[in-house]
C-alpha cells in the first residue's frame, strides 16, 4: 500500500476536528499522544510539589509550609508521579508503539482505549481537588497506612474514589494491550520474535490486572472502616492495622515492577540500535523479565521488616528479595554485552539509555543493601530509602520514558528533534539528578528519617546540595518541553528508518506513520528482529 493511498484514506476517517477529534478519538496514536501529554502535565504538577518539599528542606526550621501541608506534599507528589506520570507515560508509549511493533492496524479495543484515557483526567481532578478542601489533601503518605490515613478529613473518600478510577483505567489499558499483543500480531511475528518492549509490556499488563484490584480492595476496606463501622484495620474492633500493610504491599511490590519493566523494554530497543549490534541474550531477557514478575509476588513484606514479623517471615522475605538481584543482574549484563564490541554513536536516546543503565544499577545496589533485613532496620524509613527508589524511578523509569520520546519522536512527527538541545537536556539532567539524589544516601545513613518537614543541624549540608539539584533538574525539563514543541512544529524531515541501526516493523512505516498503522499485515523478515 502506498503512502498516497493511505493519506487519501485518512481524510475520511478520524472523529472530527478541534476538541472533538481528541475527545472522540479511538485511534491508538491520538490516544498515545493524549496519554503522553497528560503524563507531562502531571510531571510538572508533581515536580512543583517536589520543589516545595525541597525548598522547605533547604534549611532547618519551618519556613514556607505548615507540617500538615508538608505531609500533603510528600503524599500527593508520590501519588501524582506514580499514577499520573510513570504509568500513563508507559501506557502512552504502548499505545503508540505496540500496534506498530507487532504489525497491527490499531489497538484491539479502540473504544475502550478512549475510555481508559478519558477517565484519567477526572480521577486526577478528584484527587487534586482535595488540595483546596478544608483540612487539606491526603497527608498520610502515598502508602495510606491506617490508622493515620483514617484520621484525615473530607479528602478521604475523594482520594479513595480517585484511586478506584485510576485502577479501572489501568486495568482497561492492560486488557487492551494484552488483547492487541495476543491477537493483532502480523503473520510470522511469533511470541519469541516480538520486540522486548512488547514482551515487557505484555508481562506488565498481567501484573496490572493481578494487583490493581488488590489495591482497590484495600482502599475499599479503608472506606468501610471510615464510614460504615467495619474494623478491618482497627485493633479496637478486632482488626489488624498491619494487615493493611500486607495487602497494600502485595499490590505495591508488583507495582514497583509495573513502573520499571516497560523501561527495560525501551532500553533493550535503544541500546542495540545505537550499538549497531543485535541485543545480547534475547531469550534470557524474556525469561529474566518473567522471573522478576513472578518474584515480585513473593517479596512484598520487605517493605515492612520493622512491623514485627516472626523470624521465619523475615528470613523468607530477605532471601526471596535477594534472589531478584539474579534476573536483574542478567539484564544489566546483557545490555553491557550488547554494547561490547558494538559500533556506537551517542545520539540523545542513546545517552539517556546509557544513563539509565548506570543509574538504575546504582539504585539496584542500594536495593540489594535494603534487602538485608538486619541492616534494613537501620535504613528503613530514612533518606537512604528515598535515595534508593528515586534512583530507580527518576534516572530509571523517567529516563526511559524520555529516551523513548527522543527515540521515536522523529517517527511520530516526521521531524528530527534538535540534537544539540537534546544533549544539553541530557547532561544538565544527569548532573543535577545526581546532585539531587546522591547526597540523600548520606543523610539517610547518618540518621535522617524520611517524611519530616524539619531536621537536625547535622543534616544541613547535604540537604542544601539536594535542593540545588532539585531546582536544577526541574528547570532542565523545560528544555525538553521546548524541544518537543519545536519538533512537532517542524524540523529536518525524518527518514522512515530514522536511525542507521534501527530494526523492527515500526521503522518500515512512513514518518509520520499512516493513520491506521498496518492496514494489511506486513511480512515479518529476519532483519526486523533485534
Amino acid at each position: 500500500m502506498s503512502a498516497a493511498a493511505d493519506a487519501h484514506h485518512d481524510d475520511h476517517h478520524g472523529s472530527g476536528y478541534g476538541w472533538k477529534r481528541w475527545l472522540y478519538t479511538t485511534n491508538h496514536k491520538d490516544i498515545g499522544t493524549l496519554y503522553l501529554w497528560f503524563a507531562f502535565v502531571m510531571f510538572i504538577i508533581g515536580g512543583i510539589m517536589a520543589l516545595i518539599i525541597r525548598a522547605e528542606l533547604w534549611t532547618p526550621g519551618m519556613q514556607i509550609t505548615d507540617p500538615q501541608f508538608f505531609n500533603s506534599m510528600t503524599t500527593m507528589h508520590a501519588l501524582v508521579m506514580i499514577f499520573g506520570v510513570v504509568m500513563p507515560g508507559f501506557v502512552g508509549l504502548a499505545n503508540w508503539m505496540v500496534p506498530m511493533m507487532v504489525g497491527g492496524p490499531d489497538m484491539a479495543m479502540p473504544r475502550m482505549n478512549n475510555w481508559s484515557f478519558w477517565i484519567l483526567p477526572f480521577g486526577f481532578g478528584i484527587l487534586l481537588s482535595t488540595l483546596f478542601m478544608e483540612g487539606g489533601a491526603p497527608a498520610a503518605g502515598w502508602t495510606i497506612y491506617p490508622p493515620l490515613s483514617l484520621q484525615g478529613g473530607d479528602h478521604v473518600p475523594f482520594m479513595i474514589f480517585a484511586i478506584h478510577i485510576l485502577g479501572v483505567s489501568s486495568v482497561m489499558g492492560a486488557i487492551n494491550i494484552i488483547a492487541t499483543i495476543l491477537n493483532l500480531r502480523a503473520p510470522g511475528m511469533t511470541l519469541m520474535k516480538m520486540p522486548l518492549f512488547v514482551w515487557t509490556w505484555l508481562i506488565t499488563a498481567y501484573l496490572l490486572i493481578a494487583v490493581m484490584p488488590v489495591l482497590a480492595g484495600a482502599v475499599t476496606m479503608l472506606l468501610t472502616d471510615r464510614f460504615f463501622d467495619t474494623s478491618f484495620f482497627s485493633a479496637a474492633g478486632g482488626g489488624d492495622p498491619v494487615m493493611f500493610q500486607h495487602i497494600f504491599w502485595f499490590f505495591g511490590h508488583p507495582e514497583v515492577y509495573i513502573l520499571i519493566l516497560p523501561a527495560f523494554g525501551i532500553v533493550s530497543s535503544i541500546i542495540p540500535t545505537f550499538a549497531r549490534k543485535h541485543l545480547f541474550g534475547y531469550s534470557s531477557m524474556v525469561y529474566a523479565t518473567a522471573s522478576i514478575a513472578f518474584l515480585s509476588f513473593i517479596v512484598w513484606a520487605h517493605h515492612m521488616f520493622t512491623v514485627g514479623m516472626p523470624l521465619a517471615g523475615e528470613l523468607f522475605f530477605m532471601f526471596s528479595t535477594m534472589l531478584i538481584a539474579v534476573p536483574t543482574g542478567v539484564k544489566v549484563f546483557n545490555w553491557v554485552a550488547t554494547l561490547w564490541k558494538g559500533s556506537m554513536t551517542f545520539e540523545t536516546p542513546m545517552l539517556f539509555a546509557l544513563g539509565f543503565i548506570i543509574m538504575f544499577t546504582i539504585g539496584g545496589f542500594s536495593g540489594l543493601m535494603l534487602a538485608i533485613t538486619p541492616v534494613d532496620f537501620q535504613y528503613h524509613d530514612t533518606y537512604f530509602v528515598v535515595a534508593h527508589f528515586h534512583y530507580v524511578l527518576v534516572p530509571g523509569a523517567i529516563y526511559s520514558i524520555i529516551a523513548a520520546v527522543y527515540f521515536w519522536i522523529p517517527k511520530w512527527t516526521g521531524h528530527m528533534y534538535d540534537e544539540t538541545l537534546g544533549k544539553w537536556h541530557f547532561w544538565l539532567s544527569t548532573i543535577f539528578v545526581n546532585v539531587l539524589f546522591f547526597p540523600m544516601h548520606f543523610v539517610g545513613l547518618a540518621g535522617m528519617p524520611r517524611r519530616i518537614p524539619d531536621y537536625a543541624l547535622q543534616f544541613v549540608d547535604f540537604n542544601q546540595i539536594a535542593t540545588i539539584g532539585a531546582f536544577g533538574f526541574g528547570f532542565s525539563q523545560l528544555i525538553f518541553l521546548y524541544l518537543v514543541v519545536k519538533c512537532i512544529k517542524g524540523g529536518e524531515k525524518a527518514t522512515d528508518r530514522v536511525w542507521e541501526g534501527a530494526h523492527g516493523l515500526e521503522w518500515t512505516l512512513s514518518s509520520p506513520p499512516p493513520y491506521h498503522s498496518f492496514s494489511t499485515p506486513p511480512e515479518v523478515k529476519a532483519e526486523h528482529h533485534i
Partner: protein, 373 residues
C-alpha cells in the same frame, strides 16, 4: 563538549564553597553505634557496600571501556555475537553464589537480634501523637517524654540550639551492660522507635505489642527520632536515651519515685489562680500547643480553637472531662494518664483564662482527683 564543562565546573565550585561555609560535620555513613549488634550491623553494611562497589567497578568499567573504544567515530565495526550459553550461565550462577555469601552472615545477625529472652529488665514504650511514654515495668517508673526544643527555634525567632529537634524534657535512662527488653505499642497511630546508635528500630502499633532488645556497652547520650509517619508533628517527637552505670541508674529510679510522690503532694494542697495559670502556661506549651497552637487559635477543622470555644468558656466540669477523657474518633487524646492532677488543674485553668477567655474560675487539683473517679 566544551560548552558543557563550564556549567559543570561552576556547579562543582559552588558545592565546595557551600561545604566549606557550613561548619557542621559531614556525616557520610551509618554510625558504628554502642552495642555489639550495632557493630555487627555496621560490619554487614560495609561488607555489602564493598561487594556492590566491586561489582560496580567491573560493570561500569566495562561500559566505560566500550563507550571509549567501541564507538563508530573510532572506526569500530560491530561484532556479530548475540548469545553465549556459557557466559549467560556464568553470570547467573556467580551472583547467586555471592548472594549466598551475603545471606549467611545476615541470617545469623537477624537470629541474634530476635533473641529477646534472658533480659535483665523491661522497658515499655508507647507512642502517642506526638510524644513517647516510658514505663519501667520492673522499677515502677512511668513518664512522658516530649520535645524540648522551643517553638521559637523552630520558627526561626531565636538561634537554633546544638541539639535542635533532638532534645526532650525527660531522658530515657538505661543501665549500661544490662540486656534491656523493649516492648512497643501505640495509643493512636503507628509510630516507630529508632535510635541509630543502638541499631534498633521497630514499629509501635496500636493494639499490638512488639518486642526487641538492646545491651548498651558505653555510657552516653544517644539520640533518635520517630521513624514512621504519624501525622502533623511526626518530625517533632525525638528519643533521647541516656546510658549510665548501674548505680547511677538505681539512684535515678529513686529520684523519679520521689518526683511521683512530690506530684501527689502537690495535688493535695489548694493553689492560687496565679500559680495555676503560671504552671498551666508551661503545660499548655508542652502538651497542647502542637495542635491548638501557641495562640490558642487551633487549626480548623482538625484542631479546633480554644480561644472563645464553647468548651473553654462553658462549664468547667465539662471542660475538665474532655481533657481527661479525650474525644474518641479525633486527635484529641485522653490526658488523664499523661498528666498529674496539678498539671491538669493548671492547664484547664490556664485555658479558661487566656486567649481572651475570661471565665475567672479556677480548677483545683482536688477537683481533678475527684473527676478521675
Amino acid at each position: 563538549m566544551k560548552a558543557f564543562t563550564k556549567p559543570a565546573a561552576a556547579l562543582v565550585a559552588a558545592l565546595f564553597t557551600l561545604a566549606g561555609a557550613a561548619d557542621a560535620a559531614w556525616e557520610l555513613n551509618m554510625p558504628v553505634g554502642v552495642t555489639k549488634i550495632s557493630e555487627t550491623v555496621y560490619d554487614l553494611h560495609m561488607l555489602i557496600l564493598w561487594i556492590c562497589v566491586v561489582i560496580g567497578i567491573v560493570v561500569f568499567g566495562a561500559i566505560i571501556y566500550s563507550v571509549i573504544y567501541h564507538r563508530k567515530s573510532r572506526g569500530a565495526v560491530a561484532a556479530e555475537f548475540h548469545e553465549s550459553t556459557a557466559v549467560e550461565i556464568a553470570w547467573t550462577v556467580v551472583p547467586f553464589v555471592i548472594l549466598v555469601g551475603m545471606a549467611v552472615p545476615a541470617a545469623k545477625t537477624l537470629v541474634e537480634m530476635e533473641q529477646t529472652g534472658d533480659s535483665d529488665m523491661t522497658l515499655k514504650v508507647t507512642g502517642y501523637q506526638w510524644k513517647w511514654q516510658y514505663e519501667y515495668l520492673d522499677d515502677g517508673v512511668t513518664f512522658f517524654s516530649t520535645l524540648a526544643t522551643p517553638r521559637e527555634q523552630i520558627y526561626g525567632e531565636t538561634e537554633k540550639g546544638e541539639n535542635y529537634l533532638l532534645e526532650v524534657d525527660k531522658h530515657v535512662v538505661l543501665p549500661v551492660g544490662k540486656k534491656v527488653r523493649i516492648l512497643l505499642t501505640s495509643n493512636d497511630v503507628i509510630h516507630a522507635w529508632w535510635v541509630p546508635d543502638l541499631a534498633v528500630k521497630k514499629d509501635a502499633i496500636p493494639g499490638f505489642i512488639n518486642e526487641m532488645w538492646t545491651r548498651i556497652e558505653e555510657p552516653g547520650i544517644y539520640r533518635g527520632q520517630c521513624a514512621e509517619l504519624c501525622g502533623r508533628d511526626h518530625g517533632f517527637m525525638p528519643i533521647v536515651v541516656e546510658a549510665v552505670p548501674e548505680d547511677e541508674y538505681k539512684a535515678w529510679v529513686q529520684r523519679m519515685k520521689g518526683a511521683t510522690a512530690e506530684a501527689s503532694d502537690e495535688g493535695m494542697r489548694e493553689w492560687s489562680n496565679a500559680e495555676l495559670i503560671a504552671r498551666g502556661k508551661d503545660v499548655y506549651a508542652s502538651s497542647c500547643a502542637a495542635c491548638h497552637q501557641p495562640n490558642g487559635q487551633g487549626m480548623a477543622p482538625a484542631f479546633p480553637a480554644i480561644a472563645g470555644s464553647p468548651v473553654a468558656t462553658g462549664p468547667a466540669e465539662a471542660h475538665l472531662a474532655l481533657v481527661l477523657n479525650g474525644k474518641p474518633g479525633t486527635s484529641m487524646q485522653a490526658f488523664a494518664a499523661q498528666l498529674s492532677d496539678a498539671d491538669l488543674a493548671a492547664v484547664v485553668t490556664f485555658q479558661r483564662n487566656s486567649f481572651g477567655n475570661a471565665s475567672g474560675d479556677a480548677v483545683q487539683p482536688a477537683q481533678v482527683a475527684a473527676a478521675r473517679n
